[in-house]
Amino acid sequence: AQTVTQSQPEMSVQEAETVTLSCTYDTSENNYYLFWYKQPPSRQMILVIRQEAYKQQNATENRFSVNFQKAAKSFSLKISDSQLGDTAMYFCAFMGSNTNAGKSTFGDGTTLTVKP
């Protein structure tokens, strides 16, 4: 079974600075997807960034980038130039592409607070 671990329950950062959220996972699959989702108080899970395991290049979406270390099973999220609107809960998630396709496993989240 897959597991996803987020070791930082809470993080804070000053507006305009950079913060990194950690995520590690465990799987025996070779092909899979990794995601970071943002969940504001509205409860909707919003996709921030995704990474396909077969791609060596780290994904980037504007101020958001990941550091994907496949051998170490690590997938951290870096938020640059933090904004007040980035305040939310962030979840790391794994989705297999083979036998477990369709069933995502989520970590327990990191609550990020951006301070003015």
Partner: protein, 113 residues
Amino acid sequence: GAGVSQTPSNKVTEKGKYVELRCDPISGHTALYWYRQSLGQGPEFLIYFQGTGAADDSGLPNDRFFAVRPEGSVSTLKIQRTERGDSAVYLCASSFDRRPPLHFGNGTRLTVT
């Protein structure tokens, strides 16, 4: 519609009652997922549908939980004899043919008193 729609937004029920939670996925999405999110935790997988059939229901906690998707679009999650431990946010998501990303609705917050 433009996104995944879940109704009701909030549901309060008494212990022992029956509840139905509805999910209307994005038009054209063949895969539909249900997750349960308890306070302070990440979403936990319950069940997913590919078309009308349940492709994987291994996450349903017990036989009080059941979900249907009779026409391959709208899905209903049904909970019988509710218990206080069922209180959580129930999230629905959809995707095109099991391919990521998942598009989530705003969830239904279920409170069992």
